[in-house]
Structure formats: structure tokens, C-alpha cells
Symmetry: C2
Subunit: 421 residues, 2 copies
Amino acid sequence: MNAYIITIGDEILIGQIMNTNGAFIGEKLSHIGIPAEYMVVVGDDEKKILAEFKRAIEIANVVIVTGGLGPTHDDVTRSAVCKFFDTDLVPDEEVRKNIERLMKRRNYPWTQAAEDQALVPCKATPIHNQHGTAPGMWFEENGKYFCVMPGVPYEMKAMVENFVLPRLSKLTHGMIIRHRVLKTTGIPESFLAQKLGDIYGLTDGARLAFLPSPKGVRLRITAQAPTSEEADQKLDEVEKRIRDKANKYIYAVGEIELEVTLSELLNDKQKTLAIAESCTGGLIGDRLTNIPGSSSFLLADVVAYSNEAKIKYLDVPGSLIQDYGAVSKEVVEAMAAGVRKTAGADIGVSVTGIAGPSGGTSEKPVGLVWIAYADANETVSLKFNFGDERIRVKERASQAAMELVRRRLLNINIAEQLSTD
Amino acid sequence: MNAYIITIGDEILIGQIMNTNGAFIGEKLSHIGIPAEYMVVVGDDEKKILAEFKRAIEIANVVIVTGGLGPTHDDVTRSAVCKFFDTDLVPDEEVRKNIERLMKRRNYPWTQAAEDQALVPCKATPIHNQHGTAPGMWFEENGKYFCVMPGVPYEMKAMVENFVLPRLSKLTHGMIIRHRVLKTTGIPESFLAQKLGDIYGLTDGARLAFLPSPKGVRLRITAQAPTSEEADQKLDEVEKRIRDKANKYIYAVGEIELEVTLSELLNDKQKTLAIAESCTGGLIGDRLTNIPGSSSFLLADVVAYSNEAKIKYLDVPGSLIQDYGAVSKEVVEAMAAGVRKTAGADIGVSVTGIAGPSGGTSEKPVGLVWIAYADANETVSLKFNFGDERIRVKERASQAAMELVRRRLLNINIAEQLSTD
């Protein structure tokens, strides 16, 4: 089976917005083994849309269309669909109820436009829109599948996940296909693969993909089964096998950032945090304060860029800097303990390093970063090399610092080197 | 005239990367009045590519193709192009020299692959690639224009700016079209438009677009003229007219961030900076330390999230916080003066506010932000409301704080309220 993805909207043709819907659908379809052969953007023009529908259904078994269905829109897509399938619009009770529910929640009066949105092409199966008023439409004709959805990304995404993918994977494989992502950090891809060993083949109908990024490796489990429940059960099985071998590296299930996990953990444990940054320049504080409620645990983040600032704000002895240099085990540990003490926090975490492009020496090259953790009982530190690209060094160092705190909060051994590759 | 944009690459069809090339080309073509009717992504498959070329040239006057030309690539695009135009490959001396230049710079030996890259279809005008080895190709046939470029974004962009746009605008308008962007911040779009008044009509063949964003309004000047020199002269004229009325709001020409401008200014004036952040959580420090060499002016950035941290690190009197609250004129000024003094910097800048979603009151709502500047001669502060979206509040506040420093360094009056809308 193959697919043809059509995105409708003038604003994409003039480069005002990116075709993120096409990318999302292309990715999801590729996961269930239905490659997209074409991705086409066409303007809000009925004649062109109809010509595109015609070409698409000739080339592909699965046609996915988004855009041009909103209530304020010219609604050119729906009328093109009706012409294409030679069908009329009829009121749909379920769709009408959904629109009523949404209008009521927003305190909007019922209007003719709302009445109009409750109409669905007679030949279509409506697709429930949990986030908006415009329903999706699903057609099956001559062994071809034709799906039309609104262009609003989160409305479309929910329809794809809850309706389109289960249905298509059932059709193409006689199976439901489900995914789950486990986010890991602090271990390079090759080490993680080695640790997991031969868990791949253990569960029939499940597979595992390694997706590396500067912040860590995402593990994507894919499971096939005749029902959702059985597929989920396989996902659970594989997740358990992974956790048996590499649990400590997993900080989240699903697309969740480490700062969210760490914020929740600090709140759960009712621990306060103080940060001392140098080369990361405020990035750790910025990431943590993006999370609402971070003021409940974050007391202070001192970016001590100069040596004087390290002495003044963090009580780092000047002699340490002189003897060992600002980027050293001795100084990073003094920074973590110092910020913890001066801010009056339960935990201190610190980073000092050389982000580049200049400032490196043969002994202390660009990319060298020291990270330390301090609490009432211990002060520990780790040494890294995060490469020679400034922004990347900052990103990877901020991730490693947060991961160090997460692991110590969970009493995970950190003797093994942390790395985010 | 109309256009048809073709992007070649399997990695886009599976959603691994976004079709940013299509968006870029669509935007640029729309600026010179050649609307894209279609944007199509097709895989690395010669048969499909040829079919797409055929359709494109039937529908549009201008066909722009990117992707599939790299040295390690299957090179399916070039052979498809040769078949489509029924032409052979011939060596091109200019192209060969360019490849030699790049190989030498990278210390690569000359290879058969390099030799092969110096071949260009006989019927094509090669397009110089300043950043890579694969040349672009330009065809004119029966009043249609067909352009093929590599998929590497910065290679393609330079070709579009330097070759494709001048040529197409000359063809379509008998005119060269040029653009220039002036970046402003600290003034809402409507105020800026009012200030500029009727400068629009003053220069024949030039026009002005207002492009608002959370960080400020970009002013895009477009000029048409028979030659590049004349077009640039018109851009200069309009820029001068804008600067006569609103110079103080302009912090950059071209797509340059405020942190770059501010870094250069601080280095030029040999002034050191210390920052005291609260609701922005480290974002100002993060943005400034993204710029290489920021350690030459940035001494420290204290994110004093708790009241105790404001007292401890910034010498803010506890009584001020008690009497006026942490988000107040009194406290923000004490923070700026305090961080300046404790860090031993020439300039102190501070931010305190309520980023939300909670923590607001009717008197001090979410989005309220105070920003202050302190040097040896003065301490000044400004009050803002940056709305109710946490990340947006942080972004706008960081921009306003940097802009306040920029204006004071240039002795610009700040009595007029700064705003980034």
C-alpha cells in the first residue's frame, strides 16, 4: 500500500507557515508501513483541489487530505469532496452534538454556521473531532481509502492517532499498530544497544528503534496485534524488558522533556534546588523556569561567568581557581556546595566548562565540561567532553546537569559516565 | 506568471525533516509576484521525478526543483533532468574550479566523484554554488524557466538570492527586485506605522511591509529597479526615511538577533554587564552567552528566584520586598543597582515579574514585569504587561531588558514606553 498526502492552504504556498501536517502524517504512515509517495500542497481553489484528488486516487491506495474545513474558512474542501464523490451533505446527529458541546463550553450562541458544520457528505463516515467543530470524513471506495481532516494541527493529530492509524493498520496488516517512546539520556546509543542486548526478538510482533539526539536517545517501541489491548500488552512487555536492563537511563515515557521530569521529582521529594552555571550561561535555569510552578523548588541560579563572580556569590576560594583553573573538579565541586549553602537549598548543582569556539588549550580543550552535585551528605562531580559547537555544548551540558540531579534524587549510581550522545 | 516547486527526498516523505526549502522558495517567489501554485515532495525515484517534471512544466511557467544533487547522493535528479531535456553532460571549467577550490580548502584529494560533479547538462546554464560542490542548473525553453538546485538549505538559499530571484524578477517585471529587513523592537506595530506616517509613497518602485512578532516588528523594504545598483539605492533612500523618523527602534539590518547587537555594542563601548533575573529565569543570560566571546563583557547573571536570593546575592533590602512586594519599581531598581555593585560591573540590568500561570492578583496580574537599568550615573525602570502566556512573557521580557540596555548605551530617551508587540 502507498499514500498520497494533500495539504490545502495558500498560507503554505507563500511560505508563511511550514507544512508540519504533511510531515506528521508522513511519519505516522511510515511507522505502519504505508509509505507516502507524494506530499502535495495546493491552494484554496476548488478546481485545483479536484484535479489533485483525481491524480491522488489514481496513484495511491490511501489519500490523506488536510485543511480547508474550518468554520470561518471558505470551506472549499468539503464542497470539492462532495463533487468528487458525487454525494450530498446530510445532517449528522453525533457531529451536531459534538458541536453543541464545544459551543456551550465556550459560551457561544448556536448559529447558522454551526448548523452548517453539522452536515456531512452522505457517503462519508464522520471522524469525531474532540478538539474542534469540523468533523473529519472517511471514504472507502473500490479498495481505496480517502480521508479528509481539518488543518488545525492538534485537531488533525488526535484524529490520526485515534481513528486513521488504528483503521489503516488494521486494514493493511489485519493488525493494530501502536507505538510508545521511552526517553533516555546519559548513555550513548551504542552503549544502550549493548546493554539491551538481544531483547529485540523476544516479543513477537514488536520492534524497537533507536532515535539519537543531542539530548539523549529515544527508544521507540512498535507493537502489532489484532486488538489495541493486545498491542498495548506487547508494548508493556517490551518496556518491562528494557527497564530490566536499562531502567536508570529512562526519564520519561512519551515526548516529555527532562526539565518536566526533574520538576515533578523535586516537588514530590519536597527538595529545593540552587544552580551555579558558568558555560551554560543560564540555560538550565531557563529550561526549569519554563515549567509552571518551578518557583516552588528553584531558589536561585547564579551564572558566575567571571572568576570574581564565582568567589563573590558562591564562596569559591580564590586559591582553588588559581591552583586548578575555573574548569576543574575542585572548582565545580566548590561551586555546587557553595551555591547550595549561599542559597540555603537542599541541593546544589553546578556546571563549568569551555563552550568555545575559543578559550581551549591542549590540556583543557573546547567542549570540556565539569558538572557537580551537592547535598547535605555528598558532593560528587563528573567530567565530560561535549564537542566543539558552542550551542550544542550548552545544550548537552544542561541536559547532563539535570540528569545528574535526577539520578542522585533516585539514588542511582553515577560511577558510570553520563553522556547524552 | 506562476510557479511549481518540487522538493526531492525520501526523508521528507517519512516526516524525518520538514520541507523548509519549499517554504523558503515559496516565500521568496511570492515577494516578486510569482505565486507558487503547487508544492510537491517526491521520493528519490527517477520515473516519478520525470512524471513530476512533465506535470510541472505543463502547469507553470517557472519550475523550481531542489534535492538529489549532492556528491554522496544517488544523483537521480541530474540524470532525470538530462532525460527530461534530452541533453548530455559536459565538463564545465568554472564549475570544476569551484569544486577544486572547495576540496583544497577542506584538504580533500581530487576524486572521480569530484570529476563527475564538474559535469553539467549541455543545455543548462550552471548556477554557481558558493558553499558546496554541486552546481545548480538553469534552463529556458519555450518561454518556461526550469531551475534545479541542491537540497542543502544554505547552498540553495545563496543560489536563490544571488541568481534565481534577480533573474526571475528581471524576466517578469523587466526589473530587479531587492529586499532589506530592518529589525525594530520596543514599539508596537500600530505606533510604528503612525510614526512612519506617509513615507510609503515617497519612493517610486519601493514598498514597505510590517512583520510583527513577539520580539518586535520587522520592517521589510522591497525595491524594484532596472539594475541592482538602482534597487539598492532605493532601499537606501527608504531606509534613510525610516531612520529619520524611527531610528532609535532599529537594532539591526538583516536577520540578526538583539543579543548579537547588544554584545557588539558592549564590546565596542568596553562596558561590562551584570544581570539580575527573576521571572525570565536565566533566559537573558542564555541568549547572551549563545554569542561567542560574551565572557568579555558578561560578569554574572543572578537568577534570584526566591526573595531570600534577592537579599543574599543582590543586597536588596528585605524591608523593600516586604513593603512593596518582589514585583515592584523599588525592588527591580534595587536589583539592578545591587547586581551591578556586587558583581563589580559597569552596568546592571534586572527583571522581576509574574510569568504565570498562577501568582497573579488584581493589583499585580500575570504578565506584569518590571525592568531596570543601572550604571554609575543613573538607575531607571520601566513597567510592562506581557500577557498571560508564560513562555511568551519570558521571551518578551528578555527582549525588553536587552533593548533597555541598548538604548541607554546609545543615550536614547526611554521616557516613551518600551514594548515588543
